[in-house]
Symmetry: C2
Subunit: 458 residues, 2 copies
């Protein structure tokens, strides 16, 4: 019998646990989790805040009982105090009672995820009851309850215009609050799309009544009587009744440091394709680990849920006795706020340049359905390809239709198989007037690229 | 100056014309078209019938004036009488006046599309004013006008449960008619999806009040006083007030025969990848031509609009002096009737067997969005891959969400680049709870396939 100890019961941890137990029932699988939640979906938080989802429990992939039924020894409310790599011993304590216990492992999985840097960046918020940053599922309830308590018409200030910030902003607006989004960089969605696409998004947010202030790093919070009443930014003071911080996460790598695991440049744990760390008995998966970017070949840190699930799955498969690899991702991300969809995959032109490619970019506006179908709208699409090889490098898009997301997904699939601009042209997309135009935006972009790359595949 | 004569002003013909003129303005480009329509979209017909599209003109990609402005000599209402390959001469007549003219070509493009076999199969319908089959855009108006004239409550009988028949059936139902769909084969959508997926579609049609009769080939129409009042099938007599035939098209290859062009097994013109026929001065594009299936490598006849547009584009590019190729398609097709979406790409398991592959198939039911998002629904997805190589061979799906279509598109892209089951797992699909679940149905299918194919890429 092999004892596998998994630290962290999020997507990666529970995927690993389920798989390790199912493939090899003789495995003893113990999961230690600090919170009371398992297999939780932090991505679902905005939909609890806005009321689409009624119960926090609904955000769980499975309830704890399900894992117990699978023969997994789930220990909730347990915080790891110390890991000793030499004796392979864990010391952990019960969050409530403080009682400590010890446990040895044969194989260890670090799946501790990411954590907010907010309380380090702005220590003053530790004492403020109306400043929120996402730690666990409970944050969703805290934000919603507070927003409902202060009621419509009050102002919520959201720090950070990445997808977390924007989705929370949209949820708070749905509750009737006035919302201000404050972003340190010069555009919204700075790590997702280029400035001209971000502009479409920003205009849409503004048209929905959301105030958007960019290029305004938050210097500090003004706290009075245990509550923040304003933030001070480089562009001045912004008052609010509640504050949500949607930026500044980092890999939760303390335990990795205790184990002296090799870390990547990002501070996340370096793993090879089986998700094994520099310690041959320790795996790492999910937001605490790096993985390979399949376009550049470089190791990257992308705390995305799908990656976490797949990495956990791969970890668990290996622990279950079947060789499995996680090859990497191409950095696909997407979000929907109000009626606008924003998505990207692969590299932007400037990222491609930095990675040593010779990128060529096309940008188009094109209809998402047949031109004669009512409800047709235009999407903005950029596609980047390498001039030397014709290989696709990335795409980003924004528009008022879910198909924006799906078209980027299709490019993501082509990036995974190292597809070219000619593949983008040739790929036999379905055509149905209600769903897509006969000249799909992807094909139009391919045609434009082929003007430079040549009509015929090299 | 090169004189290019193009016969047929549909998608393929007009794509070729536009491209040949734009890339090389010295080209003289003459298009002969029998009808009064150019760059028409027959796929849009159901949406004129049901009233979503108000004017037939709206179904044109561009109006005739646009092509004239581009310097194309557009001659509408002209029917080709004879082609002489030796003198490279066309004789054609004006449909209205009957006056004949002659024209010589340097390069000829056959883009005559497909035509209905209905009047050959059932000669009696030639005299019936209430039996319709799709020839040109005008058919849309004829069907709609007749349906409105007889009014709600009357019965329309649609012959053929392929996508044309089903979309027309849905349009007629939207006008308030009682609708019966009669199909010769044992299932609806017989060339699109396997029986068990067709069953979901059939049940949905029935739940909307459409009567569906399968396994009932139409032997003849009963005509009384210039009107059909019933069809006689192997399963009995079916009465109706109007009849629409949605099956039985064939390549319009008469002119190709006059030119003694080599034809494929389907009867459509055999072309190589530049769309050149067996005559070095004659190209063929669109529904009149075959093209290569990129999964099997075989030549196939697929009268699909996107293929036609791309083939015309390639033809025109070559005529414009730049080498261009149409590599082929993977047979993606899709339709949406009522609230159900049906899509397929590549090969079914039985098609794959016939093509010499050793196919393995998985079939799943999986949610289209995050499980906690209201409006989530399940789709049925089948994926087929080759046991020898792990290469993806095809996929088909049915469900009540447009994402069914987009997921099949993603597989289509992977088929184009000869992707494997491991690529299907690795492909970095975007995840956003409102749009897709963290374990996308495509990844779930990949995981199932990997149980047999092996967890690790070969």
């Amino acid at each position: 019998m092999t004892r596998i100890v998994i630290i962290g019961a999020g997507a990666a941890g529970m995927s690993a646990a389920s798989r390790a137990k199912r493939l090899k029932p003789s495995n003893e699988v113990i999961v230690l989790e600090r919170s009371r939640w398992v297999s939780f979906a932090l991505c679902g938080i905005p939909y609890y805040v806005d009321g689409k989802v009624k119960e926090l429990d609904d955000l769980l992939f499975y309830p704890p009982e399900e894992f117990t039924k699978r023969g997994i020894d789930l220990r909730l409310g347990k915080e790891v105090v110390e890991l000793d790599p030499d004796t392979k011993t864990i010391r952990y304590r019960d969050i409530k009672s403080g009682a400590e216990e010890k446990l040895t492992w044969d194989k260890l999985v670090i799946a501790t995820g990411a954590r907010s840097k907010a309380p380090q960046i702005w220590p003053e918020i530790r004492d403020a009851s109306n400043v929120f940053y996402i730690t666990h599922l409970d944050t969703a309830k805290m934000i919603r309850d507070y927003a409902l308590a202060i009621g419509p018409g009050k102002r919520a200030v959201v720090v950070g215009a990445g997808y977390v910030g924007l989705e929370i902003a949209s949820a708070l607006a749905a509750l009737g609050l006035k919302v201000t989004v404050v972003e340190a960089l010069e555009q919204v969605a700075p790590r997702v799309v280029d400035p001209e696409l971000a502009k479409v998004l920003e205009d849409n947010m503004k048209s929905k009544g959301v105030e958007v202030i960019t290029g305004a790093p938050v210097e500090r919070f003004e706290i009075v009587n245990g509550k923040a009443n304003a933030i001070v930014t480089s562009k001045g003071r912004i008052e609010g009744d509640m504050f949500v911080i949607g930026v500044g996460i980092e890999p939760a790598n303390d335990l990795a440091k205790q184990l002296k695991l090799q870390l990547g440049k990002s501070g996340a744990i370096l793993v090879e394709e089986h998700t094994l760390t520099s310690n041959p008995d320790v795996y790492a998966a999910g937001d605490v680990a790096e993985h390979r970017d399949l376009v550049t070949g470089q190791m990257v840190w992308r705390p995305f849920a799908q990656v976490a699930n797949k990495m956990g799955h791969v970890t668990g498969t290996n622990l279950g006795g079947q060789e499995s690899v996680f090859l990497g991702s191409v950095g696909t991300s997407a979000f929907k706020v109000f009626d606008i969809v924003v998505a990207r995959t692969g590299l932007s032109k400037s990222e491609a340049e930095k990675s040593g490619f010779r990128p060529l970019e096309v940008s188009i506006e094109a209809g998402v359905r047949a031109h004669y179908i009512p409800g047709n709208s235009k999407m903005t699409l950029k596609v980047v390809a390498d001039e030397r090889s014709g290989r696709l490098l990335g795409a980003q898009a924004v528009g008022f239709d879910d198909s924006v997301f799906w078209r980027i997904n299709t490019v993501a699939a082509l990036l995974t198989t190292k597809g070219t601009v000619w593949d983008l042209f040739t790929a036999d997309y379905g055509y149905q007037p209600l769903l897509a135009p006969v000249w799909d935006p992807l094909v139009i972009a391919a045609r434009l690229l082929m003007r430079t790359f040549g009509e015929k595949p090299r």
